[in-house]
Symmetry: C7
Subunit: 269 residues, 7 copies
Amino acid sequence: MDPAEWEYAAYQLGLRAVYVLVLLTLAWTLSSWAASVVRATLTRVKFDETLTLFLSTLMRWTILLLAALSCLSYFGVQTTSFAALIGAAGLAIGLAFQGTLSNFAAGAMLLIFRPYKVGDTVNVASYTGKVAEIELFTTAIDTSDNRRIIVPNSSIFGAVIENITYHAVRRADVNVGTGYADDIDQTRAVLEAAVRSVADVVATPAPEVILTDLGASSVNWQVRGWAKRESFGAAKQAIIRAVKLGLDEARISIPFPQLDLHLDPPGPE
Amino acid sequence: MDPAEWEYAAYQLGLRAVYVLVLLTLAWTLSSWAASVVRATLTRVKFDETLTLFLSTLMRWTILLLAALSCLSYFGVQTTSFAALIGAAGLAIGLAFQGTLSNFAAGAMLLIFRPYKVGDTVNVASYTGKVAEIELFTTAIDTSDNRRIIVPNSSIFGAVIENITYHAVRRADVNVGTGYADDIDQTRAVLEAAVRSVADVVATPAPEVILTDLGASSVNWQVRGWAKRESFGAAKQAIIRAVKLGLDEARISIPFPQLDLHLDPPGPE
Amino acid sequence: MDPAEWEYAAYQLGLRAVYVLVLLTLAWTLSSWAASVVRATLTRVKFDETLTLFLSTLMRWTILLLAALSCLSYFGVQTTSFAALIGAAGLAIGLAFQGTLSNFAAGAMLLIFRPYKVGDTVNVASYTGKVAEIELFTTAIDTSDNRRIIVPNSSIFGAVIENITYHAVRRADVNVGTGYADDIDQTRAVLEAAVRSVADVVATPAPEVILTDLGASSVNWQVRGWAKRESFGAAKQAIIRAVKLGLDEARISIPFPQLDLHLDPPGPE
Amino acid sequence: MDPAEWEYAAYQLGLRAVYVLVLLTLAWTLSSWAASVVRATLTRVKFDETLTLFLSTLMRWTILLLAALSCLSYFGVQTTSFAALIGAAGLAIGLAFQGTLSNFAAGAMLLIFRPYKVGDTVNVASYTGKVAEIELFTTAIDTSDNRRIIVPNSSIFGAVIENITYHAVRRADVNVGTGYADDIDQTRAVLEAAVRSVADVVATPAPEVILTDLGASSVNWQVRGWAKRESFGAAKQAIIRAVKLGLDEARISIPFPQLDLHLDPPGPE
Amino acid sequence: MDPAEWEYAAYQLGLRAVYVLVLLTLAWTLSSWAASVVRATLTRVKFDETLTLFLSTLMRWTILLLAALSCLSYFGVQTTSFAALIGAAGLAIGLAFQGTLSNFAAGAMLLIFRPYKVGDTVNVASYTGKVAEIELFTTAIDTSDNRRIIVPNSSIFGAVIENITYHAVRRADVNVGTGYADDIDQTRAVLEAAVRSVADVVATPAPEVILTDLGASSVNWQVRGWAKRESFGAAKQAIIRAVKLGLDEARISIPFPQLDLHLDPPGPE
Amino acid sequence: MDPAEWEYAAYQLGLRAVYVLVLLTLAWTLSSWAASVVRATLTRVKFDETLTLFLSTLMRWTILLLAALSCLSYFGVQTTSFAALIGAAGLAIGLAFQGTLSNFAAGAMLLIFRPYKVGDTVNVASYTGKVAEIELFTTAIDTSDNRRIIVPNSSIFGAVIENITYHAVRRADVNVGTGYADDIDQTRAVLEAAVRSVADVVATPAPEVILTDLGASSVNWQVRGWAKRESFGAAKQAIIRAVKLGLDEARISIPFPQLDLHLDPPGPE
Amino acid sequence: MDPAEWEYAAYQLGLRAVYVLVLLTLAWTLSSWAASVVRATLTRVKFDETLTLFLSTLMRWTILLLAALSCLSYFGVQTTSFAALIGAAGLAIGLAFQGTLSNFAAGAMLLIFRPYKVGDTVNVASYTGKVAEIELFTTAIDTSDNRRIIVPNSSIFGAVIENITYHAVRRADVNVGTGYADDIDQTRAVLEAAVRSVADVVATPAPEVILTDLGASSVNWQVRGWAKRESFGAAKQAIIRAVKLGLDEARISIPFPQLDLHLDPPGPE
């Protein structure tokens, strides 16, 4: 090989080295800028500090790694295998964090659509309680007996949310059975008087008395009274008390379980 | 290297710089246009505002990122690794938002096929209530005792929807058991008379009395009367009352649970 | 650079511009044609109108987008990243619409294999009712008490379908228990006479009386009679009535639950 | 540009046009041939007609589409994006038809391994009945009371198959409880005599009487007799009858539920 | 274009045609060889015949298809789209046959690790029976009452396998309750004597009598005796008999359910 | 071929060999450095030693394998197939370790968000106990009866976490039923006095007495008292004792199950 | 074409043939070396022999196949389709063996973290027993009545592991109910004396007597004593015995189920 060729090869190599230096410098600058943007943005929205640090560092190293791979390709190294490795690793990480990321996705939806707010009483994931905190991955709920329940957001947004205190008035339902010998129309009148007599029961919507079915031991009723959200518990107890006192006064029985007994019927001998 | 070569290299570089400037300008214009189209369209269909802003910003940055990647390739940088990273990230995001997007897909189907409308009484995801709002991701339902139920649309369109008030007339079923000593044909006549006597029960379809089975303690019947959608509750209570009064009048018993008792049969002694 | 080179560059650019114009014109024509073919075909098979419009518009824009991407590649822009983005977006959409598309797939199979037809009484997804409408995504069923049930097709074709009215004759099964003191052979004779006496019970296949087991309180039998599809309900009621009357007449007891009682056996004292 | 260059460009274009014409002609021929081969093959194996038509048309259009895409690449259009779109669409279709295709896969396995044949009595997917038809996607079963059950093949091959009539003899099990006061060895002798006395019970394998446990109200036994597949039902009824008559004759009691009662023990007062 | 160019083009085409012919010939030879190798190997390991034929034919056509695609690329046809189609089709087939192939994978593991062998009594997929056949996709089990159960291998290897006859001696457990008035230490002595008196109960490991709890109606015990695998059933029956006779002889009661009854306590009147 | 050509080919080969040597040397240095960085980092965060060794070795071999593949491409070997193999293997490994990696992902979230700390009493995965150790893949819990429970982290972070000792005061709930004949207002007064008399019950939040419903045999109450986390158990026992003593003293009954008995009502004879 | 061109073509072909020969020779050497390394490594860690043979053979053939594909690309054959086929096949195999490989992954984690060791008594996958063998895919457990349970490792590491014998002392809990008429404080004293009198109960942690609730028929207690791991069973039986004798001696009753009976209350007549 003559000198000109050597010179050309050296020139090629040198040119590429310059390219690489320029590229790496740009990548370094870009990665610093991107990391600080990520950090600033996440800090502004009050994201978790550890995660913010992790994500901005991740951003910087991803950019640097991609820049390094690009440099390799300048020297004729085929990067298809690297791409396959990145793809497979990304997939594995995606599968591993699928649950975690679903919680994040659901958390974002909860923050946008706000089906409940802090302080609401909700029934989610079969726990009932007051919402204490809504966070990106989880929602914290305090039960009425003060246990702290931490529910992953994907169990909330991906399932049915029951917001109990959404409406200003709620209905309290009291079930009671009366004797088969008691008069149906009189019973209805007594029960209606009882529920109307309760102070916490509002007039509109009107209370109702429902004849539900002919049970095994009693004729069954449901007494329904509407009360304000705040006085729901008191109203329900007052209705139970009024029903009990009303039926006692009218001498309408609340029967125990009943049994018809046949003594020594013709047996097997 | 002689000046001509340097000149050529510079020319190449310059040409590419021009290309890149043109490309970035075009991309900037395109991204602004696309973002405003997205915003206008979504605003027109009354989409959620936060999401509209988010989606139009996402559209703009996606176009700019792709343009930037394209520029890189002008300088000989292989973008296969970038593509792999985009693919893997897209997959991870797709998996994370799978649940959320399924709700959107189901919401779109609900808006197109409308298996129920606001105000219908439905039974979905094992909750029964009146449909209050149909939204893109969720459907809100109010139960009869005024709890607000928020059901994800994919739990609705992906499962069985029971639309209770779809038809104008509904059938009220009342179960009752009569004594083994009572006459079957007389009982049927009494029950038929009872259900026909109820004002809210329509004549067509005709009411029916079904002999269901020979139970442990009683012969079991089901009394079926048809009523208009609005008067269904009242009709059902009236049938129960008519059945009870009819059987009492005809002296047909409604037996309690029965037990045959054998006192001190030959025991182990 | 000398004029010739500039000229050549301009010529290259011009040539590509011509190519691009030709390509876009062709793509526009093709997309219009494809959209109208889709619209015509779907309209012919009475597809939903909104979806037809959506799909034909989607078809047109997909073709235009692909054409635009192809034009980019004429100017040396690498489209691997675009391809990755299209792939990832397609995957996310595929995952999001997986449930919806499964319903479509199942709907197509239902229309091809027709395991039931409108008017059949079926039991699918644990609901029993008459098939009211078979559509591409859902099947509508009316229960016997007139609730409208909308079942997604993938819950039908992917699970067990029970077609109750497929065969012209069906068997009605009546369970009854007789006393331990009653004669087994006489009981069988009485039950066989009872089921044969029912007018709606067909002669072939012959009715059967099955001795099922020695139960806790009674010897248990199952009386089986075959009836025409239309008179199945009436036949079953008639068999119950005939069995009750037959056993009463033959003085064979239908025992209540039994209990042997030992009073004050030697206790812990 | 001088004429020679124009000529060359035209020549290039012309050459490619010829290539494209040749390619499309070949593709058309190939697609016709492939479609007719598919149609012929599927018709020979008695595949569903609608599906056969669909699949052969699909085959033809797939080949034509691929040919058209290949032509595009002759004119320098990069087809990576098209490939990504085909891949994503294929994935979405694959996910949507996953359930349907699984049934097909299971159907193929059923036809190859034949764990049951038409006429066998099987218990699959918790339904018991006689196999009526084995098809590619589903298996049809008729229950003993003549309901038609259509079970998807993947619910059969992917779960446990219980082939009840696989073996020529089956065992009939009869459970019975005897009194605590009765002699254990005598009871065993009586029960063994009873089961041996039944005509339909075969001698080999020998019938067995198993003492299962000391129950709450009785000493529990299981009487086991083997019978031919066709006379299984009759044999079981005959064993029940023989056991009842044998115990009655030997004056061994079959006790009702037992209860020891303590009247007014020292209470809370 | 001058003749030399035409000649060159023709030469190019001819050269490629020769290449293609060579390639196709090689592919044909290779495919025949591969198919026969597959057939020979699978026949040697006694694989199912239909599947063997199918797999060797599949092998041959896959090689030929790949060869044909390679030929296309000789004429400048880009095969990326074909690759995408092959990938998507492969994915769809992979998803469809996922269940079937899992059974195969589990079958291979069963054949390598052999957690049970033909003749063992096992409890898998909630069925108990004797292993009749271990095949590649399924395991066949015969229940003790001679129903043939076909369990997919992935339901076996992917779940808990209970091999009941793995060990040479097994423990038979008999539960019994004694009266609250009976002496605890005497009862233990009687039960220990009873279990030791049974011939089939081995001396080592020693039998045990466990006082399990103070039940609602009785003091509860578990009598445990060890027996050889083959005499397990007989031993268990013998222990039950010995316990019953031993307690009777020692006049220790086996109480029925107990109830303390308070007649007419101060009621609601 | 003349010598110059041979020389050129040799030169090409030599140049590539030099490239390969340089590349492999760099890869070796890089892999050693990366492995030691991984080892140092993981050791610093006290990662498991075996896993640290495994991961740093894996890192080194991955880099060397990629370098080797890159060398192959210098000699004109197409590495697309290798990339496909790496992708498929990565996917298979990702699927196989999906469960394991999910535990790791959940463990990381637990360490960042710390919904509980060592020593807290929690209810996770339906086990209640004291947290003993929080590790990367699992959390160890000791139940109150000293069984060690090892819960995979993905079963914790992916489900509901119930942190019982999160709040300083908890509520103890005691259910009790009183007779239908007893005065409701007096009962409430007695129960309130009882719960207030308990020393461990704090004054704020105030104790409550709730009338829950009219039960089958009794009027049902729930007595609720708040206690400090440490004295919760003692407080609950003290409330039960105070309720029992209070009701006894006030002669309010705690009724047993009730039954109304009808002797020999008109029977079937 | 002139001879020089033919010569050049031949030279090209020859050169490639030499390349191919060199490549195949290298691949053969490499594959032999890799296979023997695999075999040696797996044999050293005592891997299953059949699997070792299979994996080393698989390694050899994979390398040879990749080498063969690389040779193809020397002759201008595009291998993208081959890569797609390899990818799809790898995916299908990955899906099929997903369950099996998960077991392996879990097995590796079990061997690294060792949450239990051979001989521990554990409760996994709802089976309780002594760990007999820990293998790569499964863990074998022997129940206390000597059934061999083979649990797949992914059912162990992916679920809750309950290690019963992890701690040196365990708590034995005995539930007992006493009469409503008995004195609460005296009962507590008697129960505490009883549990302290048992020899196997250790002094620290101290035994406890817990008043659990006011039950339907009795006041319920839980007696808790701590014992050494080895004497746990004996201690529990001794506590039951001591409680029974202690209560008998103090004349505190252990009541049977209670029932208040009202004879012939005002009925429906």
